[in-house]
């Protein structure tokens, strides 16, 4: 294994109650999630000396704001990561690096998000001018932004690599299967492939059920050194390796690799550093803000070969309860709500602890977590200590 610095463990996970509507106070949501994580770890606010958060800026308190909310005396490491980072996992990646390098001992990470802030599909006023980066998109009616980019990535993937539209449907159906076992999930009823294809066409060929669901939520995690973690009550969960990935000519639209973005580069770096290989993975928690992202990661991480998802997923059997590679075992953002990536880490930790009851993957020892796509990818391998 290639790693410099101290071993890092994830010792606490927490959630605020998820709501589909309303305008909550983001400080209350954050307190709920962070206190839940501290309780889970058996720690108190004064045990923290690092806080990291990822957000778009308006929908999550800044790290020192949360320090104040919790009454933490001081931080020797902190950061507020912009939307251009690899989603919620970015906060945990920063925290892991700070702890490994000795800049702090015990770090809190969180992502608070509101339903309004997470909703990217609204009709908006058209400005009459398109300056700066808008020059090459707004004039063409590109207000849908990421939604339109994802629609084009889905279509290009199918044209270039084959497979079937049903491949995307299986990600959506799988989310509901696992959500049925997760009391925190917002959508717990199963859907069929007919339901998937019958969902509203957002931007052809992107369907509503290809997209995650905006909610009011917060989730949090606590990381510390492995040495410290061994003194705490929860089963030991270690960060084995992590990597970012951007790909060449990075851009959501103009990257060299339009279909995979930086996911393949990220996967290569991740396995080069890990004690494990793709074939060791027992459970995978892979971002599903859009179903295309999840399929990209399955292949980019080598869980199957590039272009092989269609055969590998075996009509959904591979990734569901009892399958050979359980995927998004809490319902993902498609069914459990858009918590912007950190909940994938939380779920991996819960699986590796072995106490997940109905949705426990048997003998889960190695998990892979991945976030985002395009020019801002991040991934982590965790293992049961």
């Amino acid at each position: 294994m290639n790693r410099a610095g101290r071993e890092v463990a994830v010792v606490g996970v927490g959630y605020a109650p998820v709501a589909r509507r309303g305008t909550p106070d983001i400080r209350e949501l954050t307190l709920d999630a962070c206190e839940d994580a501290l309780d889970d770890a058996g720690l108190r606010a004064e045990d923290l000396d690092g806080i990291f958060q990822y957000s778009f800026g308006i929908d999550s308190p800044i790290s020192v704001g949360t320090q104040r909310l919790l009454g933490v005396p001081n931080l020797t490491a902190f950061n507020d990561i912009m939307g251009t980072g690899p989603s919620g996992l970015a906060s945990a990646m920063d925290a892991a690096m700070a702890i490994a390098s000795g800049v702090c001992e015990t770090a809190l990470v969180y992502r608070t998000i509101t339903q309004v802030a997470g909703h990217t599909g609204a009709l908006r006023e058209s400005p009459t001018e398109a300056p700066g980066p808008m020059q090459f998109s707004s004039p063409y009616g590109f207000g849908g932004g990421i939604i339109l980019a994802m629609a084009m990535k889905k279509r290009r993937r199918l044209a270039e690599l084959g497979g079937a539209m049903e491949d995307y449907g299986h990600i959506a159906l799988n989310a509901r299967e696992w959500a049925a076992l997760n009391p925190r999930a917002v959508f717990r009823d199963p859907i069929t492939m007919d339901d998937y294809f019958g969902s509203r066409m957002v931007a052809d060929p992107l369907l509503l059920f290809d997209c995650d669901y905006p909610v009011n939520a917060s989730c949090a995690a606590i990381l510390t050194t492995a040495e410290r973690a061994r003194d705490l009550a929860q089963p030991l969960v270690l960060v084995d390796a992590m990597a970012y990935g951007t790909g060449s000519s990075p851009d959501w639209m103009y990257a060299d690799d339009f279909v995979f973005g930086g996911t393949i580069s990220c996967g290569e770096a991740l396995w080069a550093r890990s004690s494990f290989s793709a074939s060791d993975v027992d459970v995978a928690e892979l971002y599903d803000g859009f179903t295309h992202i999840t399929i990209s990661w399955v292949e980019a991480l080598g869980l199957c070969g590039i272009g092989e998802f269609h055969d590998w997923v075996d009509d959904g059997r591979t990734i569901g309860p009892g399958g050979s590679l359980p995927l998004n075992t809490y319902g993902g953002q498609l069914a459990a709500g858009r918590m912007h990536g950190l909940a994938f880490l939380n779920e991996a930790v819960l699986q590796l602890r072995g106490n997940e009851g109905e949705r426990q993957v048997p003998d889960a020892d190695v998990a892979v977590v991945a976030n985002a796509h395009g020019p801002q990818c991040g991934a982590m391998v965790l293992n049961a200590g």
């Binding site: 599909g121 609204a122 009709l123 908006r124 006023e125 058209s126 400005p127 009459t128 001018e129 398109a130 300056p131 700066g132 808008m134 020059q135 090459f136 998109s137 707004s138 004039p139 063409y140 009616g141 590109f142 207000g143 849908g144 932004g145 939604i147 339109l148 629609a151 084009m152 990535k153 279509r155 290009r156 044209a159 509203r200 066409m201 957002v202 931007a203 052809d204 060929p205 992107l206 060449s248 000519s249 851009d251 639209m253 103009y254 060299d256 339009f258």
Partner: protein
């Protein structure tokens, strides 16, 4: 009624919009021969800052596309359903332009189909657009210059 946005040229992009007004599609060509789009201060392949405008033929293929069936922009409400595409220009693999597709029905568009350059008047600018190639051929891809 909401008006569609007109691009605002700046020092980095002015060459592009000047070319468009003359009904030319210009991309940047760096000292190492890479073509790039959209206009930027340097080449995304090698970082070279020695860039020159380079006219391309305007021929290419549809790399991917989407049919916008639910408007996100007020000014485009009346256009729905309309096409947004990435066109890969014949001059260089990976050289792609974001565009609408004009003079074609959504059901008749396929990835890989040949397209050609056209222009749409927009305010005081000319907006590069693409439509199906009139002769049905994308042209041979030219090797990297």
């Amino acid at each position: 009624m909401a008006v569609k946005p007109t691009p605002v040229p700046d020092d980095v992009t002015r060459f592009y919009w000047d070319g468009a007004r003359d009904h030319e599609l210009l991309v940047a060509r760096c000292a190492n021969g890479h073509l790039s789009h959209p206009p930027a201060p340097s080449c995304p392949h090698c970082g070279s800052r020695a860039l020159e405008p380079h006219a391309v033929s305007g021929r290419g293929t549809v790399y991917s596309f989407t049919v916008v069936r639910q408007a996100f922009d007020e000014a485009f409400l009346g256009e729905v359903p309309y096409l947004i595409a990435l066109v890969e220009l014949q001059e260089q693999a990976g050289l792609r332009v974001l565009t609408n597709l004009l003079e074609v029905e959504p059901d008749d568009v396929e990835v890989g189909m040949a397209v050609e350059l056209t222009f749409e008047a927009r305010g005081d600018q000319a907006l590069p657009q693409f439509r199906p190639a009139s002769d049905g051929a994308a042209g041979d891809r030219v090797g990297a210059p």
